[in-house]
């Protein structure tokens, strides 16, 4: 039953690989960003899973709370989520600019335009 008990980690691995695959295999820049988002989310999930204590409650300083989840990974992941949002924002802004300049967001088409430019 140990394999099933690590259910959360299996989800992390599947999300991580799916995200990385989308990132590598798709030419559409927006889809790449979706892949990156999935990839980063899997890491958040990994951290949060790590902090969970079986049977523990929220880490509040009050009477009757003996066992609680480790709050530190949650705090770290709040920071990482902010970083992830910022990265996505910058990337989407870049994609808008790329679309304005190249009239496409397909990477293979952009590459073709760029290599034609290099020859001239």
């Amino acid at each position: 039953m140990q394999v099933l008990g690590l259910y959360n980690y299996w989800v992390v691995i599947i999300l991580m690989m799916a995200g990385l695959y989308i990132l590598i295999a798709r030419y559409n820049l927006i889809k790449k960003m979706i892949g990156l988002g999935v990839f980063q989310t899997s890491i958040f999930y990994l951290y949060i899973t790590m902090g969970k204590v079986q049977g523990g409650t929220a880490p509040i300083l009050a009477d009757g709370i003996e066992q609680y989840s480790n709050p530190l990974p949650h705090v770290l992941i709040l920071t990482a989520i902010v970083v992830g949002v910022a990265t996505t924002a910058v990337a989407l802004a870049l994609i808008v600019r790329i679309y304005e300049e190249f009239d496409t967001i397909e990477e293979d088409e952009i590459k073709a335009i760029e290599s034609a430019e290099q020859d001239s």
């Binding site: 890491i43 790590m50 990265t87 870049l94």
Partner: protein, 496 residues
């Protein structure tokens, strides 16, 4: 007392300068704010280096929260060197940027450019000073996000795609580092680097530590552009505004190499990284193939910036090869080369910046007879080019000499021999450009372009400041070597 607060000021000053630039909005005023902040940071870094060398390691608890609870800044000689290098190169390139930014960056966006520059500086300094593993990731992302923005300021539209590709690669690299830190935390329950270093020996047998180590290695190799993972670098350096290229070439990859050093030596310890983990088998071949192949690739480039970008990857190969020796003299050679290469590559990109400013492009083939038109710029290029090759009396000689010495000492004479071979390639790629610029006379069928004269003083002066320093370090190498060997000893000795 202000002397106690130096580690915090190092980060706070540039971080406050960034929003100030956004509020002020006037191009010249922003530049002045950035420059003042940067000069203060250089002085601060100098003071820190002095303090560390006289009084030993500084451990600064941010906000008064002691280490396991709060974030700690840890400054030893190695950190102080990086802080000084990064802030100084940023300062000099900022002076250089004034004129070149006016020409290349869209008017009205200058304040954002300088704000992003300050944020990038904040991030790079933060990575160098922090003693907390998770904090490394946060500062890494601050500097990376600012870098993507700076790269996209390039006048060519290919700057946008180069920036996007770097964003993808950089985010994957940073995410890998985040995963690595997560596994380390899971295995040891610590994020503070000193605590990590103490607890890892007990946790070494856990597979989580091994996984953390692998993720961190790959992530940092992407960030530092070590050979098979250097793909993002050439496009980014070629299309970015040249002042940004000069700044990043001297600092960004070097800071990532510093993190690599910190993790491999201080946290995991050389015995784990290079003994049990056999990192030599992975990293050393990558480094060697890197410096041989990329020096060769550099020979065939038609764009001067691209040639120098590939040469940068080759130089990173030397540095990593030096780290792989994992001895006192090997580390010293690596650290010295971080400093020396940072200085000469920045000077080289500055001279290319001068050429682009006057000529308008950097196609090597059409730079013929440039010596007559821009003698000072070309002379600067030649001097720092010689430094890149490693001719005696230049800084390149000091670092290559110590690298070869260290590899012989370790008994790996092949590494030394291959360094010499790649130096021959360097002679070819630098020599080819110099030959065109100095000896080839202008083609008579093309009309003489007008306005060809020496680059403005505001670009020449910072460039010659760097060249002066590189010559000084080249002739009396003992200053850098002694500081670097102190840093190497601190790294090998582990945390006190």
């Amino acid at each position: 007392m202000i002397a106690d607060q130096l580690p915090a000021l190092q980060i706070v000053i540039p971080m406050l300068a960034a929003p100030l630039c956004v509020l002020v909005k006037r191009s010249n005023a922003c530049w002045a704010i950035a420059l003042v902040a940067n000069v203060l940071v250089v002085i601060n870094a100098f003071a820190l280096l002095h303090q560390v060398r006289t009084d030993g390691v500084i451990r600064y608890a941010l906000g008064g929260w002691a280490a396991p609870t709060g974030i700690e800044y840890y400054v030893d000689t190695m950190n102080a060197i990086m802080l000084l290098l990064v802030s100084f190169i940023s300062c000099v390139t900022l002076v250089f940027a004034y004129t070149s930014v006016k020409k290349t960056v869209v008017t009205g966006k200058h304040y954002l450019f300088y704000a992003a520059w300050m944020l990038c500086l904040t991030g790079l300094l933060g990575i160098s000073i922090t003693g907390d593993a998770f904090n490394v990731f946060v500062f890494l992302e601050i500097s990376s996000l600012a870098t993507y923005m700076l790269l996209a300021f390039g006048s060519d539209r290919r700057a946008l795609t180069a920036s996007f590709r770097y964003l993808i690669m950089g985010s994957v690299g940073a995410s890998f580092i985040l995963i690595g830190i997560g596994f380390l935390y899971a295995a040891t329950g610590a994020l503070n680097m000193v605590d990590l270093a103490q607890r890892i020996p007990d946790a070494e047998s856990q597979r989580a530590v091994l996984v953390a180590f692998s993720f961190l290695t790959i992530g940092l190799m992407i960030k530092a552009a070590v050979f098979p993972l250097h793909g993002w670098l050439a496009n980014a350096y070629q299309h970015a505004p040249i002042a940004v290229t000069a700044f990043l070439a001297g600092t960004a990859t070097k800071v990532s190499l510093y993190v690599l050093l910190r993790f491999f030596f201080s946290i995991f310890g050389p015995n784990y990284s290079f003994g049990a983990m056999l990192l030599n088998v992975v990293l050393l071949p990558a480094a060697i193939v890197g410096f041989l192949l990329l020096s060769l690739v550099a020979i065939f480039q038609t764009d001067l910036r691209r040639m120098l970008a590939y040469s940068s990857v080759a130089q990173i190969g030397y540095i990593v090869a030096a780290f792989c020796l994992a001895t006192q003299s090997g580390l010293t050679a690596g650290i010295v080369h971080i400093i020396n290469h940072g200085i000469i590559k920045t000077a080289l990109f500055m001279s290319v910046g001068c050429i682009i400013y006057r000529v308008g492009h950097a196609h090597i083939g059409s730079l013929d007879n440039l010596m007559k038109k821009m003698p000072l710029t070309v002379t600067a290029f030649i001097i720092s080019g010689l430094g890149l090759i490693g001719v005696p009396l230049t800084v390149g000689f000091i670092s290559k000499f110590s690298l070869i010495g260290a590899s012989l000492e370790r008994g790996w004479w092949m590494v030394g021999a291959l360094v010499l071979v790649s130096s021959l390639f360097a002679i070819v790629y630098v020599g080819r450009v110099v030959e065109i610029m100095v000896f080839r006379s202008s083609r008579t069928d093309t009309p003489e372009p007008t306005g060809m004269r020496e680059a403005p003083m505001s670009m020449l002066v910072p460039m010659y400041v760097l060249i002066g320093i590189s010559l000084w370090f080249g002739i009396s190498g003992s200053t850098t070597l002694s500081v670097a060997s102190e840093a190497a000893a601190a790294l090998l000795g582990g945390y006190q």
